[in-house]
Every structure is written in C-alpha cells, then in structure tokens.
C-alpha cells in the first residue's frame, strides 16, 4: 500500500532563511500531491496542490516541486518568519481522486 514518509525530526531554522521540507512516497504516482499546514489544536489548512504533470508550483513565499522519478516532493518556504512555525503535512490523492493519504508531518520552528 502507499506510504508517505516525512522527516519526523523537527526542523529548526533562523528567521529569513529558506525552510525545505521533504515528502517521499513509496508506490504508484498519485493523481496529485498537496501540502497542508497544521497548528496546535487546529485542523489542517490547505496550502498548495501540484499535479503529476507539473514540476513546480509557487504561491507567494511557498514553492512545491514534484519529482515522480524520485517519488518525492519538496516544500520550500523562503524568507521564513516565526509565524511560519507549524507542522506541515504532505498528502497524496490516489488516482481516481477519492482517497487522500496523509503523512505524519514535519514540525518547523523558525527562530527570530
């Protein structure tokens, strides 16, 4: 079955630097891949979606890449701010689009 691997260790970076988070999956390529942000005590909030045939997607300070050969997505936050501190979840939508599988997330701490 499909599995998603995200770095379980927290990522600590200095304000202003670029944060890069990794998402690897094990089996078939998904229809598309998503990134969500989750703050403590809240539900996940959608950030970006990238499709199988797209290499890169940007939204303001966020950038997502998708490499189906490596079975990997990278999520970048440029000019990071303390307010970016949160857990970031990678999610894959299976072909057919009915089921979403989530990774466990990576916790990001941005220090001022």
């Amino acid at each position: 079955s499909q599995k998603i691997e995200q770095n379980s260790e927290a990522l600590n970076i200095q304000e202003g630097k670029t944060a890069t988070l990794t998402c690897n999956y094990t089996n078939y390529s998904p229809a598309y891949l998503q990134w969500y942000r989750q703050d403590p005590g809240r539900g996940p909030v959608f950030l970006l979606l990238i499709r199988e045939n797209e290499k890169e997607k940007r939204k303001e300070r966020l950038k997502v890449t998708f490499d189906t050969t490596l079975k990997q997505s990278l999520f970048h936050i440029t000019a990071s701010q303390p307010a970016d501190s949160a857990t970031y979840l990678c999610a894959l939508v299976e072909p057919g689009g009915f089921k979403t599988i989530f990774g466990a997330g990576t916790r990001l701490f941005v220090k001022a």
Binding site: Y32, G41, P44, V45, F46, L49, I101, G103, A104
Partner: protein, 116 residues
Amino acid sequence: SAVISQKPSRDICQRGTSLTIQCQVDSQVTMMFWYRQQPGQSLTLIATANQGSEATYESGFVIDKFPISRPNLTFSTLTVSNMSPEDSSIYLCSVDGTGDTKNIQYFGAGTRLSVL
C-alpha cells in the same frame, strides 16, 4: 471554500462510555470524512459518510465501534463507542471543496478526546 464547525472541541471520558462528535458544514456536500490523528502520527481515515447511505469504513475500523450518522447534506456525527484509553486521539471531520477547490479538503478544528 467550506467552513466546518466541530464539537465538542475536547472531552475527557471514562472507559466504557461513548462520545458523539458533531460536524456541521456551511454548505451542502456529498461526502464527509472522519479522521483520527494520534499524537505524532498521520491522519488516518476512519470512514466516508454519504448522505442517504451507509458510511464506508476503512480497514481496521468497524461500524459497531464508530457508528456514523449523515442525516442531511450539511451534518454528520461520529460516535466513539465503548471507549478505552487507546481511543484517546484527535478526531477530525473534513469535506472536499467544490468547483475550483474540489481537490482540496477542508477540516474542522478537531475534537481532542482523552479516555481515562
């Protein structure tokens, strides 16, 4: 987008009792999803609730333990029955967006359940 209200936000329950979690959406949706999120782990789909039919449960989850109601297109409940400490978790409901946002999931704030 969709706005989801979920309640209760948290509860502490005794072993052997049941808790019903409510999820209200501000628009009509076909499918509603119930997830469980244990500390440090990924969201695990419990079941998909369609209005007018039985919920579809994922492997490892059964209706007797997690009965679901879906009386209309904006509301659903999940009951955690005969609770044990292993049921302590965050329970989340979600819906798919529509139109341009149909590939996006919108989540409630979650219900943090502790079972003693």
